[in-house]
């Protein structure tokens, strides 16, 4: 109801401003034309040098992936030559099969999918719930609780590893996938992210309207908040999935090689005395590919998510 009323004055005042600054604008434009082109300003078109530099950097960033693929598909003897071959060779499937046989890569992929999937779903849901409360609801102790959440975002993972190990042993969960999932079910960053997202994406008027219609709090969350939160949840979900998939420290400590996640399997692959580096690279490729595919397909959204999370942070 109040939305159109609030929106109405904006265009008018803009027009007014435009009219008032009309002559000045021409003046400014003249000065601007007279000045030498100040190329350092943002949103100026990039020159050739910029493209060349960025191209080289992009190449450096991507080259290791190419190296991974080539090294995974050729006998090591061929990689020993310089310059190394630039195109993949014929051994890729054979090496992948060997890696899968030696290090349970198949099981590791399945385990990582389960672990990351559960962590992603629960983080997205619980952090949206809490983020919504922190963004839009008033309650006693809100600022204190949010402060605690923010403060612990910076706690390093190594700090909790020893006690987690002890707790999981007491719970009889040592070595199980649950011991990896449980500590990551929620993340302080997720609460922060969803709070930022919802405080700008969710108009108060909508909550107002739901309240006037007599919707219960849970119903409001389900039918009003969730649909609006969905794009933010998707970005948070992608970031969470990536983090969970790549998590190293704790899984390496709690899991063993009989029931590994991908990163634990890679650790074993790199720690064992596997003489064939091609097999190591094949395993690395298989373990990295799922995240990279997600990333290439949804890269634009992830980049947007990181940028929008950063501005407010």
């Amino acid at each position: 109801m109040s939305a159109p009323a609030a929106a109405a004055p904006a265009p008018a005042s803009q027009q007014g401003a435009r009219a008032a600054t009309g002559p000045e604008q021409g003046h400014l434009a003249a000065i601007r034309r007279a000045l030498p082109r100040h190329r350092g300003r943002p949103q100026d078109a990039a020159g050739l040098t910029t493209y060349v530099v960025l191209g080289v950097v992009a190449l450096l960033f991507l080259a290791p992936f190419g190296y991974m693929l080539v090294a995974a598909s050729r006998p090591m003897a061929e990689m020993n030559t310089f310059p190394p071959p630039l195109l993949p060779g014929p051994d890729l499937w054979k090496n992948i099969a060997t890696a899968v046989r030696q290090q349970n890569i198949g099981l590791a992929l399945g385990n990582s999918l389960i672990v990351s999937g559960i962590i992603t779903a629960s983080t997205a849901l619980f952090c949206t719930l809490a983020g919504y409360a922190f963004a839009k609801l008033r309650f006693r102790g809100r600022d204190l609780l949010f402060g605690v959440t923010l403060g612990t975002m910076m706690i390093p993972p190594s700090l909790s590893v020893v006690p987690l190990y002890s707790i999981m042993a007491d719970l009889g969960l040592a070595g199980s996938l649950s011991s990896v999932v449980l500590p990551s079910l929620v993340a302080a960053f997720g609460v922060f992210f969803m709070r930022q997202y919802l405080s700008s994406a969710l108009p108060d008027e909508l909550l107002e309207a739901a309240r006037m219609d007599g919707a219960t709090a849970l119903r409001t969350f389900w039918s009003v908040v969730l649909p609006i939160a969905r794009p933010g949840m998707a970005v948070l979900g992608m970031l969470t999935f990536m983090t969970a998939w790549n998590d190293f420290f704790w899984p390496v400590i709690t899991l063993n090689s009989t029931n590994p996640t991908v990163q634990v399997a890679l650790n074993n692959l790199g720690s064992g005395y596997v003489p064939d580096t091609a097999v190591i690279m094949a395993g690395t490729l298989v373990g990295t590919l799922p995240v990279l595919v997600v990333f290439v397909v949804l890269g634009r959204q992830i980049v947007g998510g990181i940028i929008s999370g950063a501005v407010k942070g």
Binding site: S2, R32, L35, H38, G40, R41, P42, D44, A45, A46, L54, V57, A58, P64, A71, F82, L129, A130, A133, F134, L137, R138, F139, L145, T149, T152, M154, P156, P157, S158, L159, S160, V161, V162, S166, V186, E208, M212, G214, M242, N246, F248, F249, V252, I253, N267, G270, S271, T284, T288, F295, V296, G299, R300, V303, I306, I307, A310, V311, G313
Partner: protein
């Protein structure tokens, strides 16, 4: 604004005839409205308290005990701390953590700043470039380290091949002191530069272009604009990335572990044994969980000190500039 004032507030509706007249349904409704926020934050805080806050305190508790893998804890007071502070390996790993931290963080953030500046131009293929810069960030520590261990190989590594082109003899990256630290830093730089560049880019795009126009009108050239408009505008962002990178550097674990082929000693003479690796070695190779907890707790205190120092320094510098 006015709408908000006269809307019925669930939970406290004094003027409507008192609670007696309220049917149970709307009282339930009001109660739900008041308790809902707590319901919403409960799942988060339950897990968070159990696996985030409790371990924090518990680590300190464990550090005061002798606690071996597979046995019970016994109280030994500050013995673990005495052991730690009289241990040469601890000071070595502390020093290596600092040097690798500087070697990886400083070039990383400077490169990121330059990259962000270039990415801030109007570019064709913008999305491709941004995604390409973030691909290393999406790669796991393990995968990145395994690839770079090959790239930095002594006999077949591509880096030594390139160095050979300009007449430099093959470098034994892994067994050297500084060379191993540089190689590990390169892995960190590769993984994190693009991420930090995007953070800086976001900060740059929130700087008003009016500032640049004003600076240009004052005759500031490209460099002066960067120095006097971009950098001050980015100060909070830069501080943020420094804090995050400092914490990250103090946690280096997977890179030195796998660069050394899964050995926790960080090279034959510990030339790249970081604090994270030292802790892992104590806890899960020597089975001394109490000592590992002590390392973790001391690392944490060091981080807090560093972050506070960072913040203080940047405030001082901010004041001096103005």
């Amino acid at each position: 604004m006015t709408v908000q004032l006269d809307r019925p507030v669930p939970g406290d509706s004094p003027g409507t005839g008192g609670p007696v007249r309220l049917p149970w349904r709307s009282r339930l409704h009001a109660w739900e409205g008041r308790s809902a926020p707590y319901l919403y934050v409960t799942p988060f805080f339950l897990v968070f308290a159990a696996f985030g806050l409790f371990p924090l305190v518990y680590t300190a508790f464990i550090s005061l005990h002798r606690y071996k893998l597979g046995s019970r804890m016994s109280w030994i007071g500050f013995d673990n701390y005495v052991w730690l502070f009289t241990n040469g390996a601890f000071y070595n790993s502390l020093w290596k953590t600092i040097t690798i931290g500087v070697l990886s963080t400083v070039p990383q953030l400077m490169l990121a700043l330059g990259l962000a500046h270039l990415l801030n131009y109007r570019l064709r293929g913008r999305t491709f470039l941004r995604v390409a810069m973030l691909m290393p960030y999406a790669t796991s520590v393990a995968a990145a380290t395994l690839v770079f261990a090959l790239i930095f190989g002594r006999d077949a590594g591509i880096i030594n091949g390139l160095l050979g082109l300009v007449g430099i003899d093959p470098v034994d990256w892994r067994n050297g002191d500084w060379t191993a630290q540089i190689a590990i830093s390169v892995i960190v730089i590769w993984r994190w530069t693009g991420y930090n560049a995007l953070i800086y880019l976001a900060g740059m795009q929130s700087i008003s272009s009016d500032l640049y126009e004003a600076a240009a009108l004052d005759g500031a050239n490209r460099w002066q604009q960067f120095r006097h408009v971009t950098l001050p505008g980015l100060r909070p962002t830069i501080l943020f990335t420094i804090v995050v990178s400092t914490i990250g550097a103090s946690q280096l674990f997977g890179e030195p572990l796998l660069f050394g082929g899964g050995q926790a000693n960080g090279g034959p003479v510990g030339q790249y044994q970081t604090l994270g690796l030292f802790m892992y070695q104590q806890g899960w190779q020597f089975g001394q969980l109490g000592r590992a907890a002590t390392v973790a707790w001391v690392t944490f205190l060091l981080i807090i000190g560093l972050v506070l120092l960072n913040t203080r320094l940047s405030k001082l510098r901010g004041g001096a500039d103005r």
